[in-house]
């Protein structure tokens, strides 16, 4: 089964709002689950998996959050897929809390991918209104992380 085929299956699942899909063929069994942090392939024992893999955007989970539609809120989104961290290190306080006043360029959170620590900066000065994720949660590409109320 090639990547294109898998992409088609994922598209099909999205369109039909399916969380899980299992397909059994003589040589290969495939189980796909959306909303999981890592793609899951099911293989017969002894079979080495194909080294091709899905690009991240195709494995995108359904969004975790509903962003309030209040006007003038700035939505901070994830530029990459990874693990969301609210603090620089486990023993330190969160970069920001709901209600924190931030300057433009101030670090809001970290997204880790392949041990690359990506600091996400405040795109505008303002107040943190909502933080949608908790520590160590997976984030998907373009997923809303926080909302900011820009300083007028």
């Amino acid at each position: 089964m090639d990547t294109k085929h898998l992409k088609r299956l994922i598209k099909l699942m999205r369109e039909n709002n399916l969380q899980e899909l299992e397909i059994e063929e003589p040589e290969l069994k495939v189980r796909l689950k959306l909303g999981l942090p890592a793609e899951v392939f099911s293989l017969p024992p002894g079979v080495i998996p194909p080294v091709s893999a899905l690009p991240h955007e195709d494995a995108k989970a359904l969004p975790h959050v509903e962003v309030p539609s209040e006007e003038n809120l700035f939505i901070v989104r994830a530029p990459i897929v990874g693990t969301f961290y609210r603090s620089p290190t486990p023993d330190k306080p969160s970069f920001v809390e709901e209600g924190t006043e931030v300057k433009k360029g101030q670090t809001l959170c970290i997204i880790e991918a392949m041990k690359l620590m990506n600091e996400i900066e405040a795109p505008v000065a303002g107040e943190v209104v909502s933080v949608f994720l908790s520590n160590a949660e997976p984030v998907e590409f373009d997923e809303p992380l926080m909302t900011l109320k820009p300083k007028s």
Partner: protein, 291 residues
């Protein structure tokens, strides 16, 4: 920006600041060397904020607060190790940026192999090991402004001439150095040159050809294949057998009959091939920490 040069320079600094130019065109085009710093990454990030160009290198003989992953410390005594940070400003799709941690690990492992004849392996995503012990680590930190990367700082720490006693006294039984492994001391300056040259070659190759050719070479040096791993990813913990790094830089782990593709989180080798063969009863708690 920091000062450049001092009197009574350690060999590594002297050689880099006064010796012949590096055989690179990008990485190391500017080198700022220090005898002591808090952390080369901290200084490089500050320089990046101030507009330091891509390829700028910060190197120190000693770090007082050498940093590792998620707040862990990196043991950085003077006179024996390599502690340096490189500023990059890659123009790449966001999903490819994190592959740079593996590319750095590959450049590092290849440089060590070429300079010493030892056979280091890579433990996904960015550690370099020899004989089951940690030789070198990487701390990569990026800053993003909305969907754009502002800069990426890659910190590299290599244990070169440390003695075994130094690791024991500092409660680092999992660490090793080139000296411990080979019985020889090595010139840090020569190693730095080799690492920067390799990193430049691999980085430019990655920018022009993508990850695939590099991925094939990485698989040859993959130090986890066949090992039994503990994986902590997105707050979940599970165990499984490493099937190695795939062509996109993710780690494949077989959990029962399912293969999981790991792109974030950390792994720990609980048993490797050697231990399985010679010590089938090895306790799980004696697993090496590769975090």
């Amino acid at each position: 920006m920091g000062k450049q040069g001092w009197s009574g320079l350690p060999d590594i600094i002297y050689s880099l600041s006064s010796g012949s130019a590096l055989p690179t065109t990008l990485i190391g085009s500017k080198i700022y060397s220090f005898s002591e710093v808090s952390s080369t990454n901290t200084i490089a990030i500050q320089m990046a904020h101030e507009g330091a160009p891509e390829g700028t290198v910060v190197i120190a003989d000693q770090q007082h607060h050498g940093r590792g992953q998620r707040g862990r410390a990196w043991y950085s005594p003077g006179g024996v190790g390599i502690y340096m940070s490189v500023i990059l400003r890659p123009h790449l799709p966001p999903e490819n940026i994190s592959q740079l941690t593996l590319i750095t690990a590959l450049a590092l492992a290849e440089a060590v192999a070429a300079a010493t004849g030892l056979k280091p392996g890579i433990v996904w995503p960015n550690d370099v090991f020899i004989n089951g012990h940690k030789l070198a680590g990487i701390l990569a930190e990026a800053e993003w402004e909305e969907a754009n990367i502002r800069h990426l700082v890659i910190g590299i720490g290599v244990n070169v001439n440390h003695t075994r006693e130094m690791f024991i006294e500092n409660h680092l039984p999992e660490a090793t150095s080139l000296k411990v492994e080979s019985g020889h001391e090595y010139s840090r300056a020569k190693l730095v040159r080799k690492i920067l040259l390799n990193l430049e070659e691999r980085y430019l190759e990655f920018l022009s050809q993508g990850f695939e050719p590099i991925g094939e070479r990485l698989q040859e040096l993959d130090g986890t294949v066949g090992s039994w791993l503990e994986v902590i990813s997105f707050g979940n913990r599970f165990e499984g057998e490493s099937l190695g790094i795939d062509s996109t830089a993710a780690l494949l782990v077989r959990v029962g009959e399912v293969v999981r593709r790991i792109t974030s989180g950390r792994i720990k080798i609980l048993y490797n091939n050697y231990h399985l063969i010679s010590h089938p009863s090895i306790s799980k708690n004696s697993g090496l920490s590769f975090l």
